[in-house]
Symmetry: C2
Subunit: 185 residues, 2 copies
DNA sequence: GCATCGGGAGAACGATCGTTCTCCCGACCG
DNA sequence: CGGTCGGGAGAACGATCGTTCTCCCGATGC
């Protein structure tokens, strides 16, 4: 296994375990066992657990931004449909087995008070979500406040879907988003 | 200091420290130092940390339900104003210094995957919030789906206010709630 | 005054954490 | 073929955790 493959395996495993059990409940030894990457390699790839946590979050941040953009681009029907498409993406996500909420919301809850880098990553990630909506509402000529409201719906849906284990909040949020967008036009 | 005063002091201190640093980052010794209650008393009041965590969350759950009901009852203007009053309560809460988000969302993020009792308490707490909105939408003759949507807005506001540190999401959510309620009548 | 007992301070214990070190094997180079 | 070196397995280390135990003091009852 070369360095790239090991790094990928570590990031995949860490993302899954952190999501399932929380960050602090996953020891480096558990990560070693689950990933099959030795402790020595693990520490030469990521010099500390903090660095690894940050790397996992950064990769996840990029993946979400790409997935969101890709989902929006698939519907070429203009900003109205692109804004609503975000909630379809949420629906797909929530339906995944073992979905346990947004990694940034969860990690912020666990570490946001003591790890400023984690708090900052969560802030940036949520700002990116808001910016996605803002791009669509701007194109619609709707006020920027609408983008904030759509972001609230999306984040609320993530929380409620995570806590209740139901994917329904995605559809509920989409219906609410449609009402809000229609009212702003 | 008698038993009642000690229990109160422990619960107050634990709630504050858990909120500031997360549950796992607060050791029983830190709790002892901050509360001034000896380890011996602490363990005879709460036989384990798990029990203490659950007690803190149960008390917080009751306090939120009471505060929400009290805030709603203060405006006797009927269900329309009572539904919107919830967002005024959010605004007061978000403006508190050191506000760091909803304890149930944060604790679920940290422990929900490995502590089923914590996950259950979070579920019950969020169901109570939804039920508050459902009581108002029922009285308005609006469909129950509206209550779910208002709950999404409220939870989204808690998350975004916690992560960004701004109290603005309360007002944004209130404005969105008004549009949704008006559209449903 | 003396014995009893609850409670405070904090040491002690076993477990586990993040991190480093030791030992050893197998691949590559001359 | 002999030597060098990267990497794997896992022991070791110091710190910290949740929990329990020891020791001692002060109040209370007779």
């Amino acid at each position: 296994m070369d360095a790239e493959a090991a790094e990928l395996k570590v990031l995949d495993t860490a993302e899954r375990l952190f999501d399932e059990r929380g960050v602090q409940a996953v020891g480096m030894d558990a990560l070693r066992t689950a990933s099959g990457v030795s402790l020595k390699r693990l520490y030469q790839l990521f010099p500390s657990k903090d660095v690894l946590v940050e790397a996992v979050l950064r990769r996840r941040d990029g993946a979400v931004r790409e997935a969101l953009a890709a989902h929006g681009a698939r519907v070429a029907d203009g900003p109205y449909e692109r804004a609503l498409a975000a909630f379809d993406w949420l629906a797909d996500w929530f339906a995944e087995p073992d979905f346990r909420g947004c990694a940034f919301i969860n990690t912020f809850g666990e570490l946001g008070g003591v790890a400023p880098n984690v708090a900052g990553l969560a802030r940036d990630h949520k700002e990116a979500l808001r910016a996605y909506f803002a791009a669509q509402t701007d194109a619609l000529g709707a006020p920027p406040a609408l983008a904030d409201q759509l972001a609230l719906l999306a984040n609320g849906a993530m929380v409620v879907a995570g806590i209740t284990g139901s994917p329904e909040p995605a559809a509920q949020a989409k219906a609410a988003a449609r009402v809000l967008i229609d009212a702003a036009r």
